[in-house]
């Protein structure tokens, strides 16, 4: 199967013009297949996750702050723009005709602006490295894989602020998102907008073609990625994480269940109701 549509330009050069649109369906089916497979796995085969015990050495607030207001606003603005971009890009390709280009470039500008804000915000106002996988994440991912396969391996540690899967998803979104944003930014030169002087000859036909292919590949990749993201957002065991993206906080219980206070230090967070004796769970012993 060919993944790229080629054509001959007026100068006789064979140039790529875009991806083969059948990849839209490939991405959609891949995303849905993952969702179905994962749901079946969790329902019928998965064992409860086990972590090495961790002992908090400071009081844990009743509500643990996970996302600032700025971070949440960025997330939802980016999500809205991403959905508009995906629908405006791919609905016309599957037969839903409307004047999509204006929606697309305006949503694209919103996405670019939100990414620039996020880069600035994450670099100077957030713990920049908290979202990137570290050595412990990779070691524990291997341990979890081995244990899932029934092989002997030590218990993995609880997560830091973000679970390993969260970090890997962020990494994939960084690559796909930056690919569509950067190529899309250049594509603004191909259309009429109030902001830029149109210049379709900014690059050679080959460079433009490769840019369209990258834009398309990242775009269809985002179909699968966002399908999976929405699926995890509504899964019952992940609802605390989703709620934290709405309200900013997660419960102390969920925090202690999944996160290691040594790896995600929340001791500086104000606590209206400091835990008197947070370190012992009568059911499970020391947490």
């Amino acid at each position: 199967m060919h993944f790229i549509q080629w054509a001959t330009n007026p100068w006789g050069q064979s140039v790529p013009i875009h991806i083969v649109w059948a990849l839209i369906w490939v991405a959609a089916i891949a995303g849905l297949a993952f969702v179905v497979t994962h749901a079946i796995w969790i329902r019928f085969f998965a064992k409860p996750e086990e972590f090495a015990s961790s002992t908090p050495r400071y009081p844990i607030p009743k509500e643990v702050k996970r996302h600032s207001l700025a971070a949440r606003l960025f997330h939802w603005i980016m999500a809205a723009s991403m959905l508009v971009l995906l629908f405006s890009a791919f609905l016309p390709k599957i037969g839903v005709q409307f004047n999509w280009i204006t929606w697309h470039w305006i949503a694209g500008l919103v996405l670019i602006a939100s990414i620039i804000f996020h880069l600035f915000h994450a670099t100077f106002f957030m713990d920049f490295w908290s979202i990137w996988p570290d050595r412990i994440d990779i070691r524990d991912a291997i341990r979890r894989g081995l244990r899932m396969a029934g092989k002997p391996a030590p218990l993995p540690e609880k997560f830091a602020k973000y679970p390993f899967e969260n970090k890997m998803y962020h990494l994939a979104i960084v690559f796909a998102g930056l690919s569509v944003a950067i190529t899309g930014g250049f594509m603004l030169f191909r259309i009429h907008t109030p902001f830029l002087t149109r210049n379709p000859y900014l690059f050679s036909d080959m460079t433009w073609g490769l840019m369209y292919v990258l834009h398309g590949l990242a775009g269809v990749g985002l179909i699968a990625l966002i399908t999976v993201h929405i699926y995890f957002a509504v899964r019952p065991e992940k609802l605390e994480i989703t709620k934290s993206m709405i309200f900013g906080t997660m419960t102390r219980e969920f925090y202690l269940e999944e996160h290691d206070p040594a790896r995600w230090d929340v001791s500086e967070q104000p606590s209206a109701e400091p835990l008197e004796s947070p370190l012992v769970d009568p059911e499970r012993g020391t947490v």
């Binding site: 054509a7 875009h18 005709q97 009429h192």
Partner: protein, 335 residues
């Protein structure tokens, strides 16, 4: 780049004898099928190897698609396979809808009008030479408009409503259809749908690869013209490079009702300036109720070109369109 050959390429030819059979074939082959009416647009595409359908469905053997029939309410229904000459010579069309007869007669040459059909004329593809040469432009499914570049040859192209692609609708009968509030009857295996002529022509912002809303599997079977504008004052004028035979640079079609020197109601449509017949709704609203005089014509002409954005080589279309609209109000070609 186009490879021009004198012989037809290989395809499977079907010549159905009924509309039902034609629709069934189009449903079966979908986007692999090409509808052949008079063949005047089709043969260029096929012989140049730009369009390569696997199947050609020739409508010439379907009698029910031909002819002009009077309909209720003083209108007419014209079969899509009726030739332009038949439209031009039809007594009912001449007596009630002279605008359409004038527009159809302005198309191409007598020989072509004998062969070309009204359905083909309204549905014909863009004449942009980059597109017709087989370059991978937006309209051909690519990612660039070669005509809308700093050195693009765009003398015949759009000054209004351009959305990435700047090709224009080259039809003479299309603006007359919109002016007369015609309805296009479309058949497919899913049944029949009727689309106002104004909505039959699409724009590149919505579907950059098509000139009309016809989708694979669909067939334009007839055109219904209601009696709304029958016998009113009509005006059609076409400006072209060679008066003997050419596509329009700009044309205008109007129908108006004038009472006591006042314009009661009017429809004005210009073609050759956008990807679809350009209906001047705001101009119509502005001149309705105004006296039919030079001042009103002047105002209409100036309003008509509001928002026009000329390309490098087609700035002449602005005064041309303005003057054609002025003349359509006056109802005379006099300067």
């Amino acid at each position: 780049m186009a490879v021009i050959r004198d012989v037809m390429p290989d395809f499977e030819l079907f010549q159905p004898a009924s509309t039902d059979d034609a629709v069934a074939l189009l449903a079966e082959y979908g986007s692999d099928a090409w509808v052949l009416a008079g063949g005047l647009d089709s043969f260029d595409w096929l012989k140049d190897r730009i369009k390569r359908p696997k199947v050609v469905v020739d409508l010439s053997q379907i009698p029910e698609l031909r002819g002009v029939r009077e309909s209720d309410g003083g209108g007419v229904e014209i079969g899509a396979m009726t030739t332009l000459t038949e439209v031009v010579r039809d007594p009912t069309v001449i007596s009630k809808f002279k605008l359409l007869a004038d527009a159809a007669e302005a198309a191409a040459s007598p020989q072509i009008r004998n062969q070309g059909t009204i359905g083909g004329n309204v549905s014909q593809d863009a004449r942009c030479w980059y597109y017709r040469s087989g370059f991978p432009c937006y309209r051909a499914g690519g990612n660039i408009c070669y005509a809308d570049t700093p050195v693009g040859m765009n003398r015949e192209h759009a000054i209004l409503g351009a959305e990435r692609c700047v090709a224009v609708s080259p039809s003479d009968s299309a603006p007359a259809m919109v002016a007369l509030e015609a309805q296009m009857v479309i058949r497919s295996s899913r049944g029949e749908r009727v689309v106002d002529a104004e909505n039959y022509f699409t724009n590149p912002g919505i579907d950059i690869t098509r000139m009309t809303v016809l989708q694979p599997g669909e067939l334009l079977t007839s055109i219904r013209i209601p009696g709304t504008w029958a016998g009113t004052e009509f005006y059609f004028e076409k400006v072209r490079d060679r008066p003997v035979w050419n596509f329009p640079l700009v044309n205008v079609a109007s129908a108006k009702v004038v009472s006591g020197g006042t314009i009661e109601r009017i429809r004005i449509v210009v073609n050759g300036v956008a990807a679809h017949p350009w209906h001047l709704k705001q101009v119509e609203d502005a001149v309705a109720g105004k006296p039919l005089n030079e001042e009103t014509a002047e105002m209409a002409g100036n309003m008509a070109i509001q928002g026009a954005v000329p390309l490098r080589f087609n700035g002449y279309k602005l005064p041309l369109m303005r003057n054609l609209v002025k003349r359509s109000i006056r109802g005379t070609m006099e300067a």
